[in-house]
Symmetry: C2
Subunit: 209 residues, 2 copies
DNA sequence: TAGATTGTTAATCGATTAACAATC
DNA sequence: TAGATTGTTAATCGATTAACAATC
């Protein structure tokens, strides 16, 4: 298959498969059929088989899927077979909370530094991570093989920051600011629009009642 | 239209429309056509008109949409015409960061209390919000007309907490813990699976390069 | 070999886009 | 009235589900 052909919907489901397989692995489950997994995850067995077959045949007829092997393969597809170096831009409470999330480290995402404009914050260590001045951004990115930048700055400075990040070589942006970042198509952006998400919840709850 | 018939995809797009209309309103734009808005938002004009017409005809032929009016109407659909009372379960760094987010308050989401099991945290005020003991959860929810509960606790206690919340009357859960919550269909859950989101970004970036 | 379950093709379903008559 | 743009129907596209032959 051509890797460009895989739909966003399929990629979006991979982390969830990975999470369930990790749980099964931890429980010591050796093999699982698409039917069993489908019941666990509340999706169709057909969808699981279709999704996985975008990347190759990981199963065996009459047997199902080996949990350990499938976990490893999906991990590779997700890029978790090697570590990733991240920086956090914005040392506010959200940026700081992200810096302290142990899940990221366990999955191989290493937070190398934080950046802020506030002189009071610069030089401090938050969850063990040093806050640098924004002036050091370019050098730090280039010298530390930074893969991914987290944007956790106020809306009004997000787009300027984004331009700089791309300029300095960043190709993956995890955006927490409440605005859309316009990027060229060789840059990947994943948005966590918290307020949008909360509004969606509020709306869904209304429509359900 | 029957409100139950509106697809999740449409509801998921409403907050983004609302955000763009808010920006236009702020800029003083009086009216906008679906074509202009589509160019701004990078979607098709057709989709905008289809989406809006799920809820009624908000526009006028030959004129377009009145920004102010449309903003108000979408706000109503999202349930933003009245305030919502929330609680945050889990006074860790993520829960605390959410407590300090001014965007939520501006949109009418009022965070009334935080809850934790840690005696060291109980009684403290974080971003002006008091941390209560989990033992007070039931009474607090019932006495303060709580709409929405934020789940920002470790994975291993998330499901127990969820059961209690539903038991105490909560019908909308904003879940930040890295697991899926199994809920009856009269309860709305919106997940912010941060690690999933980060993995998706990592994967997308790989496939793009 | 018989049973189970995959990989994969075909059918269905839903969501998006295009087109255009209605109408401001 | 003429031009613009909606509301809405019809066409297309893509994603999901069903079915089944292949095969372990």
């Amino acid at each position: 298959m051509d890797s460009k052909d895989i739909s966003k919907a399929v990629i979006g489901r991979l982390p969830r498969y990975f999470r369930y397989l990790g749980d099964l692995k931890e429980k010591g489950t050796e093999r699982i059929s698409s039917k069993e997994l489908s019941e666990l995850m509340n999706v169709t067995a057909s969808q699981i088989r279709q999704d996985l077959n975008n990347f190759g045949g990981f199963g065996q007829q009459g047997y199902g899927y080996n949990v350990d092997y499938l976990y490893g393969e999906i991990g590779k597809i997700l890029g978790l077979d090697r570590p990733h170096n991240l920086i956090i831009c914005g040392a506010g409470s959200l940026g700081t909370a992200l810096a302290g999330n142990p899940d990221f480290i366990n999955a191989g995402f290493r937070i190398k530094a934080m950046f802020d404009v506030d002189p009071v914050k610069i030089g401090k260590f938050l969850h063990g991570i040093e806050v640098h001045s924004n002036k050091e951004l370019e050098d730090f990115i280039k010298e530390n093989e930074i893969d991914i930048a987290i944007v956790a700055v106020p809306v009004n400075s997000a787009n300027d920051l984004k331009d700089k990040l791309i300029d300095y070589g960043i190709r993956a942006i995890w955006n927490f600011s409440n605005t859309d970042l316009d990027v060229p198509d060789y840059v990947a952006v994943e948005n966590v629009h918290l307020l949008d998400s909360l509004m969606k919840l509020s709306c869904t709850a209304i429509f359900r009642s």
